[in-house]
């Protein structure tokens, strides 16, 4: 029995975990899977006599989760001086307390 920890950068949320687990647990020889979207890593316990590590990696790659590859897209890259590229078009410049903030913060759950 062997254990391996694989980096799966594209497994960044729990709906990916479901797919990754499905792919791996289907493989004959895989005895245990801990797929962690928090750390983007999978711990696979497998029987090397039945399944090769390459097979695991292939299966993952086919399912769209290549090991050690890929990165979550950053749709808004930082600017050189880190001025927020969105600041110019956020569309408002508040210089007063918003009316509703005061009105709605009043008494609530009186009873």
């Amino acid at each position: 029995m062997e254990k391996v920890v694989l980096d799966v950068p594209l497994m960044w949320a729990d709906h990916h975990v479901m797919k990754v687990r499905e792919v791996l647990t289907k493989l004959d020889g895989v005895t245990d899977v801990y797929a962690s979207s928090a750390w983007k890593q999978v711990l696979v316990a497998y029987d090397p006599a039945k399944v090769k590590r390459e097979t695991l990696e292939q299966a993952l790659a086919q399912a769209g989760y290549p090991v050690g590859q890929g990165e979550t897209p950053i749709l808004v890259p930082p600017t050189e001086k880190r001025r927020d590229p969105r600041w110019g078009d956020l569309g408002f410049r508040m210089s007063q307390t918003y009316r509703a903030d005061l009105e709605m913060s009043g008494d609530f759950r009186k009873w």
Binding site: A38, L43, K81, R82, R83, R93, M94, S95, T97
Partner: protein, 664 residues
């Protein structure tokens, strides 16, 4: 001139780059303001405000047995008159600056090809205050009306300044009840000058009221308009990374220093410096390009909007030239030392004056005309580049600190809740809970009579330790930038536990750079919003906050101090002698007297320790008056990333268990 004791470089400054260059000055025998300050003894009579030179029957020196001038003017009146003249000059400076910007906005609205409305959203917001209809009218049309409405504020015929309604309701009432609500910007300055003319207003208290009214016309009028209109033209600041101190000068580039206060030309120079034609020209002279850096408030203006590095603050203007690496120093208005001329002449540096209002004898004058702004900017850069081959020995001290600047009140509002929930609630909450003990605005100048930056460094570090959030503008801000207080990491290093939590939650440095000295109006807006957000009383005077200029020197600083007091703040002017010292009665009127009238007080305190002590005492007193919990740093500091880092270091298998914590 008899030789006085001259300070060593280490005694003259706390800034490493400045010390290095002061040593350089000694080596090459160059004279600076530091040296001159040691040489010249301040006139003790003038320092106390007791020299009356308002008519040709004098000057009357009201010292010793003399307690009246020729006309019978008392010490009280003479002291206030001198103070009033300073306030009038300060208010005039900022306000005239504001007027220039308004004309630039008007030019932009009327199709000037160089200037554009960069921030239409801010334009709409300002239009609302100035009573300009927005609707779906073209931006240029709105901008034109805003510019004209803004210009109208300077010579408003009746009523009062429109911006006064941005203040808390209670504050407005105080002004109106006292009769100090400013009516028009120019009018209040003129009236104050009038009232200080010989044989005019000769009641100290009455004259001080007009000082407040004139100063308010600056803070809530000229300055606030200057800030707002500049934002409309060049963008409302948001955080930006930059570096500060003379180490930003580049040995391989043409260094152009921008110095003064108005960004209208500098903004164009920033754009022009990236023009391929200019870059090519610089390369043709053997430089890699043009490196811009700023000094004083022009520096702050283009830092917060464009991220242009700070070369230094007021007392470093001469030192910059001493590096021998500055091809041109472009100056506009205010705080430009005439001493630059002889110094520039010793180097290859071109000192270029640009404002129609400011010529300095011996400097090159390339007058700014907003319709030819780009052309002039390029001409300036050409002049600088042409000097590059003449560059001699270069001495650039390798000191520079990273900083994050650009905290407009609009951005602070956004930072505290994003587009959907932006408000000052988190800041008020932090103060109410006691994570933030209070807020200090440390603003204003350097003063060559003091050890450069020493007071700024000291008070800021003490406030941070005590969980006081510090906001800064002007040369005080540049001091903290150089010291490294304006990095987000500084929160971990210098701030108390509560302040650190807040900084970490928002991602801000513990000291916020809010812009140039004209942008102190932003602080007024922040304070007003803190009031209306509720939880901290119903007027600015209720907020646990202190304003200070711990190394002040300019008349503008006195105008700022006065409008802050009139807005309800406790203000401490630090470092040098109290200019009201000649009259105990005037000192009483501006402390207890003003506290009764407007809730703020103006104090002059030389000792920085005393400044910190009085400020914290004031903050705690205001906290108590609001019924807030007593400041107790032991309660805070539990949030943050530290715990997570421990987990992250573990290997995978250990980590998935470790997140559940250790068994206790």
């Amino acid at each position: 001139m008899a030789k006085k004791k001259v300070r060593t470089p280490e005694e003259a400054s706390r800034d490493a780059a400045a010390i290095a260059l002061l040593e350089r000055a000694l080596q090459i025998n160059a004279e600076t303001c530091f040296y001159r300050a040691d040489e010249i003894t301040p006139c003790p009579i003038g320092a106390d405000g007791l020299c009356c030179r308002f008519c040709a029957m004098g000057p009357c020196r009201l010292v010793g047995d003399v307690d009246m001038g020729v006309c019978g003017a008392t010490r009280d009146v003479v002291v206030v008159r001198n103070f009033a003249r300073a306030v009038a000059a300060g208010a005039a400076s900022h306000s005239d600056h504001g007027r220039s910007v308004a004309y630039t906005l008007l030019a932009a609205a009327e199709g000037n090809p160089v200037y554009k409305i960069r921030d239409p959203y801010k334009l709409f917001e300002v239009a609302r205050y100035l009573g300009v209809k927005v609707g779906d009218r073209p931006v240029e049309e709105i901008a034109r009306d805003v510019a004209i409405a803004a210009l109208g504020e300077f010579g408003r015929i009746e009523g009062e300044l429109l911006y006064l309604k941005r203040a808390p309701v209670k504050r407005q009432k105080i002004w109106r009840d006292l009769g100090i609500a400013p009516r028009a910007v120019d009018r209040e300055v003129v009236e104050l000058l009038h009232r200080t003319h010989m044989g005019n207003d000769q009641d100290a208290d009455h004259l001080l009221d007009q000082c407040m009214r004139c100063a308010l016309a600056d803070g809530w009028g000229g300055s606030m308009l200057a800030t707002d209109l500049t934002d409309i033209l060049f963008g409302t600041p948001a955080p930006v990374r930059a570096e500060a101190n003379l180490g930003v000068l580049r040995e391989d580039m043409v260094n152009v220093i921008i110095h003064g206060h108005e960004p209208t030309l500098s903004e164009i120079i920033v754009a022009a410096a990236q023009d391929p034609e200019i870059v090519a020209y610089a390369q043709s002279k053997g430089a890699k390009g043009v490196n811009l850096a700023g000094i004083c408030c022009t520096a702050n203006e283009i830092l917060v909007r464009e991220g242009v590095p700070l070369a230094g603050n007021f007392l470093q203007q001469e030192l910059a030239i001493l590096t021998g690496a500055v091809e041109a120093m472009v100056v506009d208005i205010q705080c430009i030392m005439e001493g630059l001329v002889p110094l520039a002449n010793r180097f290859h540096t071109a000192l270029i004056t640009t404002s129609p209002k400011v010529k300095v004898a011996g400097a090159l004058h390339l007058e700014f005309d907003e319709h030819r702004a780009l052309e002039i900017a390029k001409q300036i850069l050409h002049t600088a580049i042409d000097r590059f081959p003449q560059r001699g020995e270069v001495f650039v001290p390798n000191y520079r600190s990273p900083l994050v600047a650009g905290f407009s009140h609009e951005y602070i509002n956004y930072a505290l809740g994003g587009s959907y929930r932006g408000s000052f609630r988190p800041l008020n909450d932090a103060i109410v809970a006691g994570r933030i003990r209070g807020v200090v605005a440390d603003i204003g100048c350097n003063n060559a009579r003091l050890c450069h930056d020493e007071n700024h460094y000291y008070v800021v570090s003490e406030f941070l330790k005590n969980d006081v959030l510090v906001v800064q503008t002007g040369c005080g801000a540049i001091a903290s930038a150089k010291k490294g207080y304006m990095t987000p990491e500084a929160a971990m290093e210098y701030a108390g536990p509560g302040l650190r939590e807040v900084c970490e939650a928002i991602g801000i440095p513990p000291v916020l750079h809010m812009g140039a000295c004209v942008d102190n109006s932003r602080i007024l807006t922040v304070l007003s919003q803190m009031v209306t957000e509720t939880g901290l009383g119903d007027d600015i005077s209720d907020i646990p906050a202190v304003g200070m200029a711990v190394e002040w020197m300019s008349e503008k600083a006195l105008a700022i101090a006065t409008y802050c007091v009139a807005s309800g703040a406790y203000v401490i002017m630090g470092g040098v002698r109290n200019p009201l010292a000649g009259s105990p009665e005037v000192m009483r009127l501006t402390t207890e007297g003003w506290e009764q009238k407007v809730g703020g007080r103006l104090e002059f305190v030389e000792d920085p320790k005393e400044i910190v002590g009085r400020s914290l005492a004031h903050i705690d007193r205001k906290r108590a008056a609001l019924g807030l919990e007593e400041y107790n740093p032991a309660k805070w500091g539990k949030s943050g990333d530290w715990r997570m880092r421990q987990v992250l270091e573990l290997p995978f298998e250990a980590r998935i268990e470790a997140v559940y914590g250790g068994r206790k």
